[in-house]
Symmetry: C2
Subunit: 112 residues, 2 copies
């Protein structure tokens, strides 16, 4: 069987990402109104793109809950995910999200 060379294609279902135009203000606010998700976004904002896997965040929840939170962040257009081997690495969709909801990201990243 031919196998992709180098960074091989994943045989897992690729993560589904939201179109920013389909995200409502209310959904964006609801996504950010959760303490765990807020921590994830902030921690992600202080890291380089594609450097943080899902399990590398310091939040007091188990793996299933964490997975659910990332799905919520994806649905809100806040994060993009890519499979890299066994792990799934993340990126904050700064510019796209800021274009859709100007200033909102800056607001939650300014530490209170």
């Amino acid at each position: 069987m031919a196998r992709e060379a180098g960074r091989g294609a994943s045989h897992r279902a690729a993560p589904v990402h939201a179109r920013l135009d389909d995200v409502t203000v209310q959904e964006a606010l609801a996504a950010l109104a959760d303490p765990v998700r807020l921590t994830l976004v902030r921690e992600l904002a202080s890291s380089d793109d594609w450097t943080r896997s899902c399990g590398s965040f310091d939040v007091p929840v188990g793996k299933p809950a964490l997975s659910h939170h990332f799905a919520a962040l994806r649905a809100a257009g806040l994060v993009e995910q890519r499979d890299e081997g066994a792990r799934r690495v993340n990126r904050l969709r700064r510019e796209e999200f800021d274009a859709r909801f100007p200033g909102l990201l800056a607001l939650v990243l300014r530490g209170d």
Copy 2:
């Protein structure tokens, strides 16, 4: 008994308002992430200050729920209330809230 002239003093417990500095971003977001409260804020934004009583809003909830929503908006520093006779009239705390959370109000008032 001496009675206040004109707009008399209320014998009701005055509404308690939040200090904007005590409101966290997360609380502000949670307050705005509700569809009913979002409607209240938007409708209030398109009205002059102190012209809208609590019961004058077009939301599909009963009086008790409405009362709780206004309490939530007060706690988030979004509205100020004043008793005027039998009615309780409202005002959107535009500038104070915008000073605390720049751009957030503008964001939710821009119709999607």
